[in-house]
Symmetry: C2
Amino acid sequence: MGRWEPNTRQRLAKAALELYSERGYEQTTVAEIARRAGLTERTFFRHYADKREVLFDGSEELRALFVTAVAGAPGSATPIDAMAAGLEAAGDLFHDRRPFARQRYAVIDANAELRERELIKLASLSTAIAETLRDRGVEEPAASLTAEAGMAVFKVGFERWIAENGERTLSALMRECLSELRNVTGGA
Amino acid sequence: MGRWEPNTRQRLAKAALELYSERGYEQTTVAEIARRAGLTERTFFRHYADKREVLFDGSEELRALFVTAVAGAPGSATPIDAMAAGLEAAGDLFHDRRPFARQRYAVIDANAELRERELIKLASLSTAIAETLRDRGVEEPAASLTAEAGMAVFKVGFERWIAENGERTLSALMRECLSELRNVTGGA
């Protein structure tokens, strides 16, 4: 139980998700999560502020990744192509995490407070991406609309990925959704 | 202070918004709202469940209006055209309510709990519209993507309308945003 034991965060996250799935998020205590992981409560609180943070731990990483990819797209890229670069980066992040993502999604979907938190996360992502697009010289309302459209593709693509048992990657499904969005809005 | 006094709801809503703007949403009590409106607390609670409901009172009306317009679009309308009919209907609803909408927006923007509630309202609108599009025979993911894109147009158009002092109507601004969305996604 040393402070720097490798994988402590992952063990805690795995234990937490298992318990949230088995008995519900509200009914699970930090003490139970620590016990399931074979660790102490003190160790839990060295890694997470509370039991909710276990589920939203990756938000900052996701935001940084999106913003970096959008900002780093070639100067010649159109706003939607820069957005697409962000979606590709997000797809890579989740690449080998489908079982975890699916379990997390089910836990969040079952709890109103967690669904709210998830909506706030997406709204804040959208705001950050719109800002990054404006930094690239994209004007309003194009920047906000591109960011919101990108979030729509992320959300719908993600839900399909969670629901599917097929071989298609999150990136492939988001590309498909982006193409479908172009289609419905009358684009190519 | 009779039960059926005309405009009681509006008087309460006006008093509530004034107080939320002046001293903050959290600091305002139902007793103060009733007093400002020259009514009793009992009358307040005959019209609204709590002080939050004053701000979200129109959610059901907006949803019904969107859904009816999308469902009622000609059978030959494309998904995005059906969505556009919903946006037009919503634009009409807010037509003469800009001062109220602007004040409401500022109150909501200043309070995390209210922002969450607003996000949930929009997410639930999107879900209802996607369902209506599926009822029109639109397949997934096109239905969800169209609904989400429509919500993006609604949200961005609404924020511009609130921010502007110009003469352009909400409907006009949403049409402009929809056209800009087609533009950024590579459409016409």
